[in-house]
Amino acid sequence: MTAIDVAAFTGHWEVALPGVIVAATAMLVMAVDMIVRDPDADALPVLGIAGLAVAAAAAVWLWGESPIGDGFASTLRGDRYALFFTVLLCAGSALTILMSVDFLREHPLPRGEYFALVLLATTGMIFLAAANDLIVLFLALEIMSVAVYVLTGMLRAEPRSIEAALKYFLLGAFATGFLLYGIAFFYAAAGSTRLGVIAGAVAHDGARPFMILGLALVLVGFGFKVALAPFHVWTPDVYEGAPTAVTAFMAVGVKAAAFAAFARVVLAALGGIAVRWSGLLWILAVLTMSVGNLVAVSQRSVKRMLAYSSIAHAGYALIGLVVATPAGGAALVFYLAVYTFMTLGAFGVLLALGRRDEPGEGLADWAGVGFRHPVLGLSMVVFMLSLAGIPPTAGFAGKFYLFSAAVDAGYVGLAIIGVLNSLVSVYYYFGVLVQMYMVEGTRSLVPPGARPCLLATIVVAVLVTLLVGILPAGPMELAREAFASLH
């Protein structure tokens, strides 16, 4: 019996540090929850946000140290790409937690489990963004997914919440099957699940049928997670049914992390056969943004509209992947970052307009809100403008980056389709503003001041959206560096 020398395979263990910190925070939260047993204790969110901050700090530290080697026998990378997403995901989760505090006070949810699951899902996301091995990727994806399945159904008093959880779960498991099958074929083609080995095989053998098969099936899996048409169908139902804070978390965290992994697989492992997938992704991108925007037009529920809008945005982001140049990748990264804040903000406002007995998700419920609650109103204006891609907001900077990368790489047609889509999107984003400012309404609302944490979330999102919109140079540079480290 030979002893296994584990140490040799834990080199550069620090690349796992942010994820480990978040996981540990999750366990700590559960422990505290069991000990404190006070439903209104603010300790849990504070602890969770602190843990995320520490994890983000660790990531920032690693950024400064980079380049650092891979950890755990090359299954985990500590490149700036992963670290960028780590910070982004931590920020998204922290805002989600902050956003949820007031919500949890008003709804009968198990707080300890809720925060723990958010943190555990974040752990999965962080590893997902950093995974350099399909097995790790698969497991990280499952950690994230399973946690979010549960979060979706956590509002058990609400039948729609649990129905959404079931749909999400069934379709998620179904998609997992495809993803797994694809991984099997990658394994068959390259003899390994390491992305680096696959890249080598691609460089050596080109596009072998196994590789192509794997690519097609993996696309189904990722297509599900990032909600690309025609794998998007679950999104509106699940987004609508889930508690709003969870929806926000799904829209930004799950999507960003899955996109990070998706882009890494496609570019780092399969970059050598880009010709074999860029055309396909082109089709998917066009399909996704068109379907998302088109169907969003006729939605009467703001929450559901935002769900479709998130589909459309996945389509835009995919442009960066189609382009696949350094600028395109950087644009994708930047866009996902921007998208995180504006979408979180929009969901935040949605949450702020709801009450326990009356979710306030219908478009008609928003009538006249703009003038009665100037802060919420103006915030929503900023988010809607940003989502529609109108300057001087971050959304515009993001779209600008994407489209310029597309034009730069010769994808003028794609860029034109993109802008025409954002034209359609303007209709429904501005439709919200129409309701808020141009229709009189009398629905009574909880004063925003009564939900300080939620308000704080919204304000933070507004500030980031505006600041990045006006001065996008810094974040763009970070995104560029992040993407540059992928290769």
């Binding site: 001087p392 034009v407 730069d408 003028v412 025409l420 303007v426 209709y427 501005f430 439709g431 141009m438």
Partner: protein, 509 residues
Amino acid sequence: MQLPLLTLIVFSPLAGAIILAMLPREPTVGLRRAAFVFSLVPLAFAGWMLERFQPGEADFQFVERARWIPQWGIEYRLGVDGVSLFLVLLTALLVPIVVLASWGDITRRVKEFLAFLLVLETGMLGAFLATDLFLFYVFWELMLVPMYFLIGVWGGARRVYAAVKFVLFTLVGSLLMLIAILYCAWRVQAESGSFAFGYDRFLAVPFTAREQLYLFTAFALAFAIKVPLFPLHTWLPDAHVEAPTGGSVILAGVLLKMGTYGFLRFAMPLFPTAAETLAPVVVALAVVGIVYGALVATVQPDLKKLVAYSSVSHLGFVMLGLFVFTETSAAGSVYQMLNHGLSTGALFLLVGMIYERRHTRLIADFGGLWSVIPVYASFFLVAMLASVGLPGLNGFIGEFLILLGAFGPRPWATAVATSGVVLAALYLLWMYQRVVFGPLTHLENAGLRDLSAREIAVLVPVLALCFVMGLYPAPFFRRMEPSINKMLARLRAPAVVAATPSAEAALHP
């Protein structure tokens, strides 16, 4: 380090808007006064700029530059030349007037109205002054949002439809323009190795004829919608009819000029070959627009709609003048932009004033107003005649020069366009006759108040300028011409001249 005059002009309204937003909602009089003062600040700065402006200089003056997004070579760059000088002044002049005019018009949500108006002013001034295409685009879009709210919140019965239509129409063009801008920037990169969005850098790119065709079309679409060029005009009547008076004034006075300004500043000099190739199309559309707008205006029962369609007709003249590429008509076009801003602005103000009193804009609801409100009728007369293009008033100078310059290259188009002069008299005089002359047919009109001192104060500067510009236009042309001619010079050149190394060095010390 000299004073950043242009930055002050552009951002002083925004600062005003922010301060305004912090002021208490009541009393509204205080808000109005504050907004009026805030709107005078950029006017004062602009006046100072006019004072220090060097006539005879074709290049940009008071240039300001700062790095903004270095990855893309995007800079914060402002500059003013003869083309933008008076448009800036027009903008800065109209906003205080609109603030004053809104006194009687806007009674709900006064604070928000004024704040949006000031934000809009920043957008407009910025768009006129930006010399970096990215910056231009940002300001261009920045105008959209406040205008959307001005129409949508304070507008008439179908305001939402009109506001959304306005936004969507505008965006159709501007988004494609964005793509074109990106393509140009990419070409700059291909030529010089680094991205840049500077106007001068774009000018230095030797675009192929085919590229120019596409790029010009994209730019032209954005601007043509704004102008609006037939048949892209249908947003305009709706927007005008539904917008509050101030919105209409700004829309007609400044926003429409964005389109023609864009053609002159960007679409034509950047893509001269395409401009020359497509000139027949544009001229044809312009001429059709002149006649079409006039015909439609003739039978409109609604005063605002009538004036709106008259804008289609008037702007057709401007487009005609731009796309015959003669110095005379280009000068006339730029002048006509200012004229239209003043005379149509005045008409909208007047229509707004009567609407405040009677809550109707239907021509049929009026008649015989002279006997009741002679002062109003007199002001209306002057504004109407300025719009008709009566010699001695401003409109004539512009129209005459446009047609004069256009006649040489395109005599037949000019001949048709000249019929627009006749039709303008037809629809405006007929309208005026039905509203002001004749017996008093509606008893409700018998008790109308004549203009108040405030309303007279609103109208006098505009109409006085109509006279000044009609009687003594030479000083205006002296400042405008060098810049206009510089832009036109590119259009006559048979081939686009690539930037020489020395020119490059001069641009990037």
